[in-house]
Subunit: 210 residues, 4 copies
């Protein structure tokens, strides 16, 4: 497949990312403007690089023709939350939209069932209809929902995986797991004072002026 084709293929994914980012950011601004607590801290998004798509396709034995239906994270949205409990509130928001502006394809709870590596996050894969200048299209997009601590850890694990080409040495892996425990510990301490904090943040929306 030539360069030009990839560009054409990825354009609707770019647009979907822009739309989804706006939609989830709107939930936050809507709640804050109404004086409510927002379970969404911030939202990022990216389209997977062509080299990473091809690498993943190769790894899982996906032919080029099947890439768009088999690789579900070409479009990726990440939603960061302050508390573990907020993650499930965000999942509920997504479920309420099911059949409206998006359709849930499947969900994976890597928080209650965290990976051996220490990876924790909640994943929702959706089907998302997009209007392009060339006409309508339905694409897959993966929404990852995490706490700030989970995100910090995952970013670092990702860098190390790349450095060691997925063969992280044991002594590094041990440290990674220890830091995953520390991140988990922080999330737990936070959850315990969560009720106090939520009330505090709702009563005084002061964060923008910290």
């Amino acid at each position: 497949m030539v360069h030009k084709d990839w560009k054409k293929i990825l354009v609707p994914y770019e647009n979907a990312i822009e739309e989804l980012k706006v939609k989830f950011k709107s939930i936050r601004s809507e709640l804050l403007s109404l004086g409510e607590y927002s379970p969404i801290e911030f939202v990022t998004g990216r389209v997977k690089k062509v080299s990473s798509i091809l690498e993943k396709a190769k790894k899982y034995g996906v032919s080029e023709d099947e890439i768009e239906e088999k690789i579900e994270d070409i479009a990726g949205i990440r939603i960061m939350c302050q508390f573990v409990e907020d993650i499930y509130t965000v999942v509920d928001y997504i479920r309420e939209r099911d059949g409206k502006d998006l359709e849930i394809f499947f969900e994976k709870d890597y928080i209650n069932n965290f990976k051996d590596s220490g990876y924790r996050s909640y994943h929702v894969v959706i089907k998302y209809p997009i209007q392009t200048a060339m006409g309508p299209k339905v694409i897959l997009a993966e929404i990852q929902i995490r706490t700030l601590a989970m995100n910090f850890w995952a970013t670092i694990e990702h860098s190390l995986k790349y450095k060691y080409k997925h063969n992280i040495p044991d002594h590094i892996n041990d440290r990674l797991k220890k830091s995953s425990d520390a991140a988990f510990q922080l999330d737990q301490e936070m959850s315990e004072i969560r009720h106090e904090i939520r009330q505090a943040q709702k009563m005084f929306e002061v964060k923008s002026n910290v």
Copy 2:
């Protein structure tokens, strides 16, 4: 109606503006990234101020309960084009989406039928479904499509209308009409070299580096 209520009412309009801006900007970036000419130069949007909504309601005898169904420009999107011909291309894009992510309510062609004041623009009023943190809702939004010259003129007319509370003195009105003619003249000169220019811009997407 108290302050808090207005805030709640306007939140979905704010969100709709954000979504629609992203959608029309995506058409531009999509076409440019494919090496095509974009009929969209830039996109702006705003939610009408509460004071302006109430003023308009009063002027047209609209009761507060009917405001959301009778005042169609609470959410306003403006799309600027280089050439008059581009306006109709943009209208076609909107028509293709009719029944998909939006529904056309009505259209008004103030270009072929420009107002006595000299005002020229194409208006499309749409019904737009929006998912809020409180559930789904359908709102009205007005899309104004204009050339840069039409926009320049309209901005100035708007300022003067405010200054003179809709009673612009005759000598100012005469000048405004002369400047509307000059803007119209510029648009016509531009249309005549349009074919040349379109080809030039398509072949060399150099504008970002002017």
Copy 3:
């Protein structure tokens, strides 16, 4: 000169563009927030592409070593104004900063002395000190100040120059000059109602809610 070197050379120019855009945009927001009229409508900026830098160097016989001191528009800022008179107000703002956060190198008034092609704009070339991660540096930057009508015309002329590799055919050139006259005409009509408009805009800063 290899690719890597160009990247290193252009980084301070990128930073200068970001700083200068913020500085001129701040003048606008400052004046508006004080209820004053802003002579600045909007601000854009860009770093010249390496290919364009090399082309210009070749055309003017500039050796690679002299590029940074001889090519004054590697960093380019463009300030758009509503009225011709505003351009000179902006020039005055720049002159007041001379010797403070920037130094004026030279000025060119292509408005009173417009080019044969029909090009009109005011140019100020400055020396600008920038702090990089590698230490301090002084670079050249060109500030172009124009009305919206001048900018519209210049954008189109630029596209055509590229299409015809600087040899625009006579019949196109004639049309370009006619459109330059129409743009000039529009600017003149505007200047005549300028006093009225300025007062109107100052009294009611309504533009953001047009």
Copy 4:
């Protein structure tokens, strides 16, 4: 002091925030574009609300005339880092600019000397010259440099302080300290694998595509 006056006073602080954010963000983009590791993760800024300024002035017995010279955090910049070590690299960057585009007024190391509450951050207060539409001015600005974990904790402590009007109950304070310990623990685990991670991030600048 009337409302209008405050607006005028705070305008240069707003501008300073914009300039400083651009300057520190440029360090990050500069390093990344050169393939280097960036000690800066992200940068935020805010101007203190008038109500908070007046409250602080009252608390410390500062008269209204002395506010600008005595309250050093009217303009506040916050720089977030991945690792504790990065904080000191950022401090070095600021020191190198001392006497150039800013002047260091004083520094406070709340990392090695953390507060009883558990608060950790490095503070640098600077004098910053700003060009306004009204002429030049020198203002004070406070730069807070922290890890993501420190920032997370500080945000929550700030909310609670507001809720309890600076009288946080003991049982909440105890939990806050435990969570400060957990955040500290996370930072320490991170520092231990830092060398590995820094190398990884430098070799493969993949984070934008995680």
